[in-house]
Each structure stands twice: as C-alpha cells, then as structure tokens.
C-alpha cells in the first residue's frame, strides 16, 4: 500500500518502539520540556518540577486502572467516578465517624464499583467499555442521593491525606511516599506475578489462555475489583490535594488517564505495554497541559487533542504490528 521509502523507517521505528518502548517517550518528554523552555524560560524551576510531579501522581495512579485493564483488552471508564465516590464519601463521613472508618467505607464503595464491573465483564461478557460506562453512571446517581442525605454534615479532610496531597519534604511532594511503593508494586506484579502474566496472556490471546487452562472469568473479576480499589486510592490522594469535596472531583482525570496509558505504549487491544510507559505518559500529559495553559488552549481544544492522540497512536500501533 505504501511505497518502500516510507516503509523502512516506519518498520524501524516500530522495532525501536517494541524493543525499547520507553526510549521514545523519554525523548518526547524532554522535547516538550525544551519547547516549554523556549515558550517561557522563566517557568522552569525546581518548584515547577516538583509541582509537575505532584499533579502527575494522581493521573498516573488513575492511569494504572486503564493500563491494567487495557492489558487484557479492556478499559475502565468508571475509574474517575470510583475515585470521586471514594473522595466524597471520605470527606463527608469523616466528621461523623472519624477518618479510619470513613476511609474504610470509601474504599469498600470503590471496591464494590469494581466488582460490579468485574461481574458484568466476566460473566455477562459485556464489552468493558459499555459496562464501566454504565456502572459509572449508576455510581454517580448513588452519589447524588448520598449527597442529599449528608448535605448538612459538612466536610473534613483527614490530616494524613492532606499531608500526602499537599505537603512537601526536601522540595519533593509527599505524594511520592504513596506513589513510589504503589508503582514498584504494580511494576513488580506485571512482570513477576502469576496474575500479571495472565493479564498479558488474556490480552494477547484469550482463546490460547483458555486452552492453557486459565479460567478467564477469575482474572476479569479480580482485575476490575483491583481497578476499583486503585481508583479509590487515587480519589483519597486527590482529595488531600484539592481539598474540596465535589461531585465532579476526578472528572478532569478521566480522559487523560486513558490518554496517558495509550501514549505510554499500552495497546488498547491488550497484550502489550506496561505501567512504566504509563508513568511517562502521565508526565508527558502534565507537561503538555502546562504548555496548553500557557498557549491559552480552551478546554474544547484539549479534548479534541486527547481524542486525536488516542486515535492516532492506536492507528500507528496497528500499522506497526501489522508489519512486524
């Protein structure tokens, strides 16, 4: 279809991206920082770097939900809602029953959302996109009802979450204290645990996994439950960061979390990618967001850009793997 001249570099680029998926991302990240420096040299500072990290952490955590589900060929569009639910419940229940109880209830809610997704995907075999969209909608409805019942109690933010969300130690955001162990755990699990292997196996070839004796429903159920828990955790951290309990708290993270995973090289069809790329993807998107703010790009333009990035990267991967 294409001429031989464009074929060779594309194929080479494909090899490069498959063998060293993180290298082009690092290059891209520094290129963006370079452009930012050209646009406004004054902006680059230690404080800016630390701030960028702080903003990127919740995004990277929510993008873990997308990465893990995408490894199996799924997606979790309810992650943002699960995060919001966890945050809102924590903020409103803390004045009533104290922080530990509130956090416990919040995480149970997030887990429940994930389990409903898991049941729909594992047993009814609903496409994860539709299923998670549906549970997201229902959870938002539940949250509205809940809001009515707690409207008078006021809100309180557990001190630990505020410390994690806004504090700094040695110039670095405290959020790293949660994020670094979290990231190490995910990176370890995707390479060195049986569960992680099965995610790749199912995304790569579900029929082959089944023939090898994998009971796919078990993996789906566990995966979406885990995704709900991670989303809940993200919500807690985000609550400490923004210190407002709103019903659209994590909404701005929803779309970028998908984009971060896709940019990070995780295939939306499954079987390929990993969390390392997603972390870089989240950093790239955060830097990009700074740049778009600098350029005064309206919200609409950003959405178009994110959508276009997702489509373009996916189409590019299809091209590359077809040739492989």
């Amino acid at each position: 279809m294409t001429s031989a001249t464009t074929d060779a570099p594309l194929a080479r680029l494909g090899r490069l991206m498959v063998d060293n998926p993180l290298l082009p991302l690092v290059v891209l990240l520094f290129a963006l920082i370079g452009v930012l420096a050209l646009l406004n040299p004054a902006i680059l500072s230690m404080f800016w770097a630390s701030n960028t990290l702080k903003i990127a952490i919740p995004l990277a955590m929510l993008a873990a939900c997308q990465t893990l589900t995408m490894l199996t060929g799924g997606i979790d569009l309810s992650a943002g809602t699960a995060a919001t639910v966890a945050a809102y419940v924590t903020a409103t229940a803390t004045p009533l029953i104290g922080a530990p109880g509130a956090i416990g209830i919040a995480m149970t809610c997030a887990l429940a959302i994930g389990m409903v997704n898991g049941v729909g995907v594992a047993f009814a075999r609903v496409h994860p996109l539709i299923m998670t969209l549906g549970t997201g909608l229902i959870a938002t409805g539940c949250l509205l009802v809940y809001q009515r019942s707690v409207i008078s109690t006021g809100t309180e933010y557990p001190a630990l979450l505020v410390w994690l969300g806004t504090g700094r130690t040695l110039g670095l955001p405290n959020g790293l204290a949660l994020f670094i162990p979290f990231a190490i755990l995910i990176l370890w699990a995707q390479r060195r645990s049986g569960f992680g292997r099965l995610l790749y196996a199912i995304g790569s070839n579900e029929a082959a996994a089944r023939l090898s004796g994998v009971r796919v429903w078990q993996v789906h159920l566990a995966l979406y439950s885990l995704s709900g828990v991670i989303a809940g955790l993200t919500g807690l951290l985000y609550l400490g960061m923004v210190k407002t309990a709103s019903l659209s708290l994590a909404l701005p993270l929803d779309l970028p979390s998908v984009a971060a995973a896709v940019i990070g090289g995780t295939s939306i069809f499954g079987g390929r990618g990993g969390y390392g790329g997603t972390i870089l993807g989240a950093l790239i998107l955060t830097v990009l967001a700074t740049m778009l703010t600098l350029l005064q790009m309206p919200e609409g333009g950003r959405r178009i850009l994110y959508g276009a990035i997702i489509l373009a990267v996916t189409a590019l991967y299809i091209r590359l793997t077809d040739r492989g």
């Binding site: 498959v18 292997r197 099965l198 089944r210 023939l211 004796g213």
Partner: protein, 496 residues
Amino acid sequence: MSPPAALLDATGVAKRFGAVLALRDASLQVAPGQVVALMGANGAGKSTFVKILTGALKPDAGHVRIKGQDSTVASPAGARRSGLVPVYQEPSLIPDLSVADNLRLGDTPVDRFRHWVGALGLPGLRQDALIRTLPLASLRIVDLARALAVEPDVLLLDELTAALPTDLVERVLSVVRAQADAGRAVIYISHRFTEIAAICDRATVLRDGQTVGDVAIAPGIEDTIVEMMLGAPVTVAARSARATGAAASDAPRLRVRGLATGTRLTDVSLDLRQGEVLGVVALEGQGQDELFDVLAGNRRATAGTVEVNGKPVAFRHPADAIAAGLTLVPGDRAHALLMQRSVRENIALPLLARLGTWGAIPIGAERSRVGAAIERLQIDTRAQGEVRRLSGGNQQKVTIARWIAKGVQTLLLFDPTRGIDIRTKQQIYVLVRELADQGAAVLFYTSELAEVRMACDRAVVIFGGRVVDVIDAADADEPTLLRAAYGLTATAGVPA
C-alpha cells in the same frame, strides 16, 4: 470439428502467503459442455485455487481467463460479471435476511430462481423464510438455485453435496449434468468418488500447489487419481522403534464411546492406551476438529462418553481436561500462542493458570523447567523477543514445549507438522515416540498420510463423523489410508 475453446482457462497460477507457497503452478481448463472435477488431498492448494478462480484472491502469477477475457477483477462481483458463479463450501447467504432479500441483494432473477428451486426438489420453499431458520440442506439448494438463476457460463461447485440427503443429491447431480449438456462449463469439487464417476468428464488433480494431471473419467480411474494425489510413493523415512504391543494389555488411558457433538461429529469410539501413538486420519471436515475440541474441554459433547483411566469425565472447561491430563496442541498455532509475548511466557503459561499461582512467580523453578523444555525440543531462541518472530517450526515447538514443561500424560496433537520444515517434522516424530515410551498416550491427527507410518502405532480413519476403519501402522500405506478416508473400504463400523 476443432475442440471448442475453453470457457475457463487458468494457467500457471501461483500464490504465496508469507513464507508459505500455497500454489506454485496450478492450471485448469474447462470446455463448454464439460464437468471437470478438481481434486487434491488436504493441503494441495485446492481452496486457495478456488478463491483465485472466483476473484476472492489475486494471484501472484499466472492468469485466469473466462470466455477468453482476462479476468483481472479481484472481487467476487467481478468474477460474476465475467460469467463465473461459484457455490462455496460454506453457504454465502446472509443468515438474517429472508430468501427474497438475499436474491435482491445479488440481483437474482426471482422467476428463474423459483424454477430451479422446484427443479432441485424444494418446491415448497417460502421466499419470506429467514435464511438462518432453514436447514443446512435447504441452504445448499438455495445457494445452487441462486447461482443457476443467473445462467452463468461457468459454474463452480465446492463440496455441494456434503450436507445433502441422498434423494436431493441425485436431483442435484442430474441438474448439474444437464447444465453441462446445455453447453455450460462446470467445475465440480467433491470428496465423493461415486459422484465424480457419475457426472464428471474429466478430473484435474492438484498436488503441492501444482496441477499434476488431467484424466478422463472412466471405470477404475479411482486408483490412478489416488496415486496422482499422493505423488511418487514415499519411502518410509526414519521410523523409530515402536512399542510393540507391550502396553496393549493395559486398560486404556482414554476410552471414547459414541461421541457426538450434534454437528459433524456423529459417532466416534476409540481406545487410546498408555505408551501408544494413535493416528487419526480424515479428510477435512469429517468431525476430527470437534473430536479434539471435546477431548480438550473446549466444547461439549451432545452424546457419548469419555473415560480417562477408567473414570468417566465430562469437561466443562479446558482446565478440567488439563487436570485430567488431557492437553491439546491445536491445529492453528495462532490459537495456541501469545504471539506478542516471549518464548518463556508462552511455555510457562499453563504453570501459572491456576488461582493458586497468582502470586510471586518462582523465577528459578520456572527458568529451569522452561529451560529444560526448550532444550528438549531444541527451540531456537536466538530471537529472544516475541514468539511471532520465530519460524513456524519453532512456534510449533513452543506449543508442544508448554505441555512438556507442565508434564505430559495424554497429548492431543492436531496436525502438529502442518506447514513446518522437514527437520522439525522429524524432531516431532522422534519426540512423540519418546513421550510414548516414557508412558504418555498420544492422539495424533495428521493431514499428511505418510506420517501415520512414521509416527503412529495404529490409526483410526474417520469419515462422515464416524470411525470407518482401524489400520495398523504396518499396513498403513498411503493408498490404503486415502481409500479409507474417502470411505472406499467396505469395513465401516469397526470398533477401534
């Protein structure tokens, strides 16, 4: 009178899929008034040739002329315009549309269609019936009537009668013959020699992607055609020592009685003993796929029993079969492999499948087990990356190595040597024998008849969904097997 110019003339057709040369030099000429049988054993390139003739695929070399014009169009619609109408093996009717809508979709004249449906023995067919509510036999008739209604110059019929009851077969055959007598050309593909003898004028035989012969049909021509399909008699290559009846006294490892799936598998019984390699021989689509799927827990049987070591089993999931020691190497490697993952991950997959193995992977133990399997199968792991970069032979070794690493009890091999190089094939024969000698039982379906003598102890022959013959490897020369596979022996119904 000079011979009439061929209505269809295909010469020197070649087609390559990646590394596989499916067709190298296929030719076919059909003159007006003739019915020509297109024949070939499994893997001879017949289906690729049919796709090229009907415009569904473009040839790499050679030409296809219909009525003397170069058929350059690469679509079924184009072939139709030039006068060739096919009736494919699988029905090409839209299941969710009515008969009338299907006719409208292909611009088929309704009056003539109605005439042909009547002539073919289905006068009561309702035009508003949904295709998916019709039985398979009626679909074949509708498909054929639809093709006849456009009055094509060349008619291509691919395994048309496979799903038809006998009375309809007779009508169809006489209609097809009448088409040729009216001056049209017919290409007739069938596994049934009796039909070919009844209506065909000539037979064109394909082998290894090449046209190797073109003979006039006459009484007793079957043997000649079988010989052509097989080629020069193959000398039996390195056949390793076989277990000679030592294990035969044992109770069977696997005992199958009256197995059916409600589709192509109708009634299969067989015994597989420990230490035995039992071959399965069948033409394409005789129920062997379903047999292996049922044994591997990938599909449920509708009738019959399976016993493993004397205990009755009914698998609901491949995991159940694996727990009972039955492990499948499927026919299509693409169904077994995680193409984007490494050799190690592919081989280790069954080790991690259970819920109890979701935690930390014992890396050392995994490495040694996988390493041993790689060593034993001599897998070339220089391409350290993804499995899809390996050669076909090495990929096949990975699918087998997976079960070596897990531990083999009963191995179900579905055509494990299809499309791989000769050296790897030999390695697989040796390995299969070694596994059997170490106490495994192996069920070995092969589309290459010569392999039965090289790798198996006995072979069951399946035709029309039931076992029609059991042949000892010593007697399993290719002509015997092929005749049996075509249902030409009279010893049907022998219990294995």
